[in-house]
């Protein structure tokens, strides 16, 4: 909902036609289009513009993510990382992108061509779809999905199918190993991921990312769920471990294990198709970190957002910008943490990954749910009188 824009006839009609959830672009467009366009045209245009924005966000996140990864790893390892292209190498990802565009696009002989070509597209496409649930700001989002978190988890799970397709179709045994590991690993870790997310969900009472975030604006914007009860922190640790496995990040990077499976399911890919997998990885990391920020660390809520709302009024453009910046910062803080873990720890073995997922993370997350539930119902009530 864009409260700071004066309502227009078409916008009002669209707002009335859409039940509850609304696309900010669809609200914004009637103001920008000349005349009084038909409602369907506004929807189609809004969809196209939204897709463009989603693509741009994924691309920018991936570009910045690769640069950040190189810088973080470089500084952890007593080196500088990229320094040549632009100031501290900030143009390096662009140079890499150009290089990847110009590279020969190989399809290995004996591969299943159709699957081989579809796989990277499917992987990236599902991530674009999941991206639509990313709340950019309280007043600006692609889609205000009531079951937002369900949608994200579901869509990012589909990327696994793309990875399995890639490994299967490559006609390489190493790739097949990577794909099988991905399948086993994601199945094992989807469970604790979902259960760990139940803890903040129970507290928030909503699946909607924006609404969850609104529940955490309290004193100075610091009424975050992580401080809410003693089971939140363990739940976050479980969630974080699970998203490391979900996004194939070290120490759970078994599907691509550079030193074991060469590059796993990506071994046979080159050029832009390979870049698609890479973009997916960074965008998925970012998206999951956003989810973590929204469900554990206050989402838009921060002292900055609180101050912006106090001074310039809730729903104003400054408040929206502050909220968007806050969430972006929290998201990239999570991404940084994931990189830090990657460049510090050795990799675990596949049987250890499975043991950890099934034997430890799943029961522990169930325990967290039970504990948080009891706490919320019994202890918190007693406390508050």
């Amino acid at each position: 909902m864009i409260a700071y824009l004066a309502p227009l006839p078409a916008a009002a009609a669209i707002a009335a036609s859409a039940d509850g959830g609304m696309n900010a672009v669809a609200e914004l467009l009637p103001r920008l289009l000349p005349g009084d366009p038909p409602v369907w045209a506004v929807f189609v245009l809004a969809a196209l513009v939204s897709v463009a924005i989603a693509v741009a966000i994924v691309a920018l996140v991936a570009l910045f993510g690769t640069w950040l990864e190189r810088k973080v790893s470089g500084h952890i390892q007593c080196r500088f990382g990229p320094m040549r292209v632009g100031w501290h190498g900030w143009l390096q990802p662009v140079a890499d992108g150009v290089k990847l565009l110009l590279k020969e696009d190989l399809i290995p002989t004996g591969s299943d061509r159709v699957l081989f070509v579809i796989a990277p597209a499917l992987v990236l496409g599902c991530l674009f779809a999941a991206m639509t649930a990313y709340p950019i700001a309280p007043g600006f989002f692609f889609a205000d999905i009531e079951l937002g978190i369900f949608f994200i988890v579901a869509m990012t799970s589909v990327t696994t199918i793309g990875v399995i397709m890639a490994g299967w179709s490559s006609n390489s045994k190493w790739s097949l190993y990577g794909a099988m590991r991905e399948a086993a690993q994601v199945v094992a870790y989807e469970v604790p991921l979902g259960i760990a997310l139940l803890v903040p969900l129970m507290v928030a009472g909503s699946f909607d990312l924006i609404e969850v975030s609104q529940r955490q604006e309290g004193l100075l914007g610091l009424d975050w769920f992580i401080f809410r009860n003693p089971f939140m922190l363990p739940a976050f640790v479980l969630f974080f471990t699970a998203i490391l496995a979900e996004t194939k990040r070290a120490p759970f990077d078994l599907p691509e294990t550079e030193s074991e499976l060469v590059a796993g399911f990506m071994t046979e890919y080159s050029g832009l198709r390979w870049a698609f997998f890479f973009m997916e990885e960074y965008a998925a990391m970012f998206l999951y970190c956003i989810v973590g920020a929204v469900f554990f660390f206050g989402g838009f809520a921060s002292p900055l957002t609180w101050a912006a709302a106090e001074v310039f009024g809730t729903g104003g453009i400054v408040h929206n910008l502050a909220a968007a910046g806050t969430l972006l910062l929290k998201g990239f803080a999570g991404v940084f943490l994931m990189m830090w873990v990657r460049w510090t720890l050795p990799r675990v073995r596949i049987d250890q990954v499975m043991t950890m997922g099934y034997k430890y993370l799943t029961p522990l997350s169930l325990l967290c749910v039970l504990g948080a539930g009891v706490w919320e119902v019994v202890v918190a009530d007693l406390w508050r009188g």
Binding site: G110, D112, N171, K173, E260
Partner: protein, 402 residues
């Protein structure tokens, strides 16, 4: 052709029973075939151009066969065609991570045939360089082992110290990898001014860093989980396969050529008690597992620093090379000298008929012998463990293939 066509499962009906009522009950013997998979010669974990032909049932390796020879450069044959001194640079190239040690082995063998005495300062400089190179070699072995197990960062930390070590070598002999510094009869160059004090500084810094590396990687929980109880070589098996060096000591056999068959200064150093020989005790798992082997290497680095310090305490000015003619006049004879290379016993067997060129230069490479144990310990381990075991064997393909 896809992977599936390559391995058609052969299934057959094992038993057929007719049930009352006309139904049939079939017992089908479903067979699946193991995957045969080439690890290498272009694989990041084989440290060079080794190929291991693996047979795998899913994630479990059921058979393995190392294939060597991709880097064969006729080193021994070249030795029969060149003059005695001219072969020395070729010794650098077989175990390129421990070139000083190779020079040492060859020089000692030739000196034994010649029957000459090496000046004491030269012996000191030799011992210093050989032990420094041992540190460098073990740093690579340990660092790349971390890399194999997915820990990228310690590898670069270790290159930082190795870089300093190479800078020290560059100062004393001008080369960074293939030194040819240890010559027949002594060493090529005296230590430049300030070199020995810089070496002392290196020892101090390295001791501090050593603790850091041990805590960062060796005692890391995930690292221990990945290496303990993996790739166990029992002491008896180690002896059967003729393993030497850290592999043998990792299996709990307390044997080190430097102490038990001392050459050059090592007898004196051992008598002084300047160094001890670490061996595997099964601290984190079983005796002879990957962790033990790696820990032996880590401990050996510290022992090497102790030996360098002993040399720094005892070094005195003097000549650095024996007085020898440019073209060696070798008496007829033969000699075998085995030295403790970072990877094990590096033996040189040289035969002279009194001519300008050797009749035979036979090299007994430790990696070549050590790699044989793979076939025995790989089956039954996970694919991921195959990498852990390969890394813990620490082969240098230049030396297995020569």
């Amino acid at each position: 052709m896809s992977i599936l066509d390559l391995q058609k499962p052969v299934s057959r009906i094992a038993e057929e029973r007719r049930l009352p009522g006309g139904e049939r009950e079939l017992t089908v013997d479903v067979r699946t075939q193991d995957v045969e998979i080439n690890m290498g010669p272009q694989h990041p974990a084989t440290h060079g151009v080794m190929k291991v032909l693996l047979r795998a049932d899913g994630e479990v390796c059921t058979g393995a066969q190392p294939h060597l020879g991709f880097l064969h450069r006729c080193a021994e044959k070249i030795g029969e065609k060149l003059e005695w001194l001219q072969f020395l640079p070729y010794t650098d190239r077989y175990d390129y991570l421990a070139a000083m040690n190779n020079n040492h082995g060859y020089s000692l063998a030739v000196e034994k045939v010649l029957g000459i005495e090496v000046p004491r300062r030269a012996q000191m400089l030799r011992t210093i360089c050989v032990e420094l190179n041992r540190i460098g070699s073990h740093l690579i072995a340990f660092g790349t082992y971390g890399l194999d197990l997915g820990a990228f960062t310690p590898f670069l930390y270790m290159f930082r110290e190795r870089e300093w070590m190479m800078a020290l070598f560059e100062k004393i002999c001008g080369a960074r990898l293939t030194y040819s510094y240890l010559r027949i009869g002594g060493v090529y160059n005296d230590a430049p001014p300030g070199w020995l004090s810089e070496l002392e500084r290196f020892c101090d810094v390295f001791d501090a860093k050593w603790v850091e590396y041990r805590d960062l990687l060796m005692l890391n929980k995930i690292f221990v989980q990945r290496t303990a109880n993996v790739g166990i070589v029992p002491p008896a098996m180690a002896l059967d396969f003729g393993l030497t060096g850290p592999l043998l000591r990792g299996s709990g056999v307390d044997f080190d050529l430097r102490r038990d068959l001392p050459y050059e200064l090592y007898g004196e150093i051992a008598r002084d008690g300047a160094f001890t020989v670490p061996f595997g005790t099964g601290e984190k798992g079983t005796v002879g597992d990957c962790w033990d082997r790696t820990y032996v290497r880590v401990m050996e680095m510290r022992e090497a620093v102790k030996i360098v310090r002993w040399c720094l305490d005892h070094i005195a000015p003097g000549p650095i090379i024996a007085d020898l003619p440019k073209v060696l006049k070798m008496p007829p004879g033969q000699a075998y000298v085995g030295i403790e290379n970072p990877r094990g016993e590096l033996g040189h067997f040289v035969i002279s008929d009194g001519g300008r060129v050797p009749v035979r230069v036979r090299v007994r490479g430790p990696s070549f012998t050590n790699v044989a144990v793979l076939e025995a310990i790989l089956p039954g381990s996970f694919i991921a463990d195959v990498i852990a075991i390969l890394g813990s064997i620490d082969v240098v393909m230049g030396e297995t293939d020569r």
